[in-house]
């Protein structure tokens, strides 16, 4: 290629003299894949999506889930999504912004959902994650606890768990911990 490089050096000087337009960086493959995911979203009726930074930043968005059945019916729960440029090689980072009494979500908003960590595959997409999050509210499970206390109550005394969830969602204390109203 050396002969090409010699010519190229010459050409570049010419181009610089001609004041050519500098190329601009292209979108990352991750951004483009996300664009596809978002344009194909098929949200369950419990869920709405919003883009706090406007239409051109799809990498950071929020969804709001309002379960229509189960323990959490009537509550509204906000999740933030942070998608990295290496998406879908890397899963999106998801946090729950609403403080919730839930066995699989801790008080810092960490979410224990297998497809967000150990079982993430690049063939999954944002829609899958949203359905997974919905499932957490209809079927909270005590086997993968992040909030140990909530998991123990769900396992040993579902009735008490139900009333704890109600109290937390209405805005109140469960044990020592205060949960702001989210109904």
């Amino acid at each position: 290629m050396i002969n090409l490089f010699k010519i190229k050096g010459q050409k570049r000087e010419d181009a610089a003299n001609a004041n050519g337009r500098a190329p601009v960086k292209k979108q990352s493959a991750g951004e483009l894949r996300l664009h596809k995911d978002i344009s194909e979203l098929n949200l369950p009726k419990t869920t709405t999506i919003s883009f706090p930074n406007g239409k051109d930043d799809l990498m950071n968005f929020e969804i709001s889930i309002r379960p229509d059945e189960g323990y959490y019916q009537g509550g509204t729960f906000i999740f933030t999504f942070q998608v990295s440029p290496s998406y879908p090689h890397e899963p999106p980072k998801v946090k729950c912004k609403t403080k919730v009494y839930h066995p699989n979500i801790d008080l810092e908003g960490n979410v224990c959902l297998n497809i967000l960590r150990e079982d993430w595959k690049p063939v999954l997409n944002i829609n899958t994650v949203i359905y997974g999050l919905n499932l957490l509210f209809t079927q909270p499970n005590d086997e993968d606890p992040l909030n140990h206390d909530a998991a123990a109550v769900l396992r040993d005394n579902p009735k008490l768990f139900e009333s704890n969830v109600r109290r937390a969602m209405a805005g109140g204390y469960v044990g020592q911990i205060y949960f702001p109203r989210c109904i």
């Binding site: 090409l4 483009l32 596809k36 194909e40 810092e108």
Partner: protein, 450 residues
Amino acid sequence: MANALAEQGRWRDLDKLLARPGNIVGHGFEHSPTLREEIGEFVRVLVVGAGGLGCELLKDLALSGFKNIDVIDMDTIEVSNLNRQFLFRLQDVGKSKAEVAAKRVMERVSGVTIVSHFCRIEDKDLEFYNDFNIIVLGLDSIEARSYINSVACSFLEYDCDDKPVPETVKPMVDGGTEGFKGHARVILPGTTPCFECNIWLFPPQVKFPLCTLAETPRTAAHCIEYAHLIKWDEAHSGKAFDADDPVHMQWVYSEALKRAELFGITGVTYSLTQGVVKNIIPAIASTNAIISAACALEALKIVSGCSKTLSNYLTYNGLEGTHIKVTDFVRDMDCLVCGPGTLIELDTSVTLSQFIELLGEHPNLHLSKPSVTYRGNNLYMQSPPILEEMTRSNLLLLLFDLMGKVPKDTIHVSGTTEKDGKKTSCLRKLRVVFKGVVGGSTDMDIARSS
């Protein structure tokens, strides 16, 4: 006198490769006694990374006749680097890797100029990268490779027959090592697969389930990840963890230690903490040397043509004996980063809505319900409704105006396409050329005839 002799001897073997004909030489190889000097004079090479591989690469390239080398690295030297990053000494700790490495190689190999860049790869503009004839990568992350790959591929142009235009091809040689394993690959954008074409080759990072970390830690790594992912947020509400801040790392280490004691787990050390958090696998000096040698040789082959290049992916495993295998991976012709995409010629009077309609009728696309994005601007989104509403007003505008009145550029669309009665969703790259705009279709004609 002795120096002059040594200087002559230094290039004896290289000159044998470059000054003599051969049977397995690359396309267009012209052997010549001055070829080595021409490489030194005309070729500019960029080495990305001045760590384990970077040190080896700089030395190897300088000793292979390359005289104009640049090196870019944002890192500073740490004590733990010294066992294998052989250009660095104890008194260099804390200094820029790129700067020290450049200086040391220039001291040892006369006639070589190495310009160092102590900054992030994202800090340099595209023109910086375009000035190099070849880019050699000695990196340790997928993100950084993916970034450089997208930069190098962004220079690539295709002619009307979807053939890459030779002078727009920016060759890359990528090396990587992990313990006893390594790879070296040649990326000729438009000809061999780019990094994104087979990113699936990289295994996903091992991730522990959060609930295991929170409830039932069994290993030292579990304790460290607990401190890193859960405890940090609890204790520092909102403050982001910085893996390069020793104070942060020390905090994670001491929390991990406490947790390990609580569960009777042993083995949490500071270096393991660094390893787990930064996902580091112990580096082996000889692996770096072998992989770097393969990369430097490929760089020499690409620029000189003295031999056919590796085609196109070499894997090395030195764990038990020595296993080396070369695999000829194939391109993803629909690759969004290096693929040709579909050429579409348009009048400047076409509105976005007409353009969208046209995509449905296009014989090679048949794209229904397409969403359109251009350089990070979402021109039109079919869904979700909130974005549809925000982008709807663009439909009546001219595409030429929405694309900033450029004569030609790449645009991406996603939608569904129907083939044999089966609907599949897809994401397509389009090369839009506006007819009759200076620098647009005329440029393409020149590219074709050259």
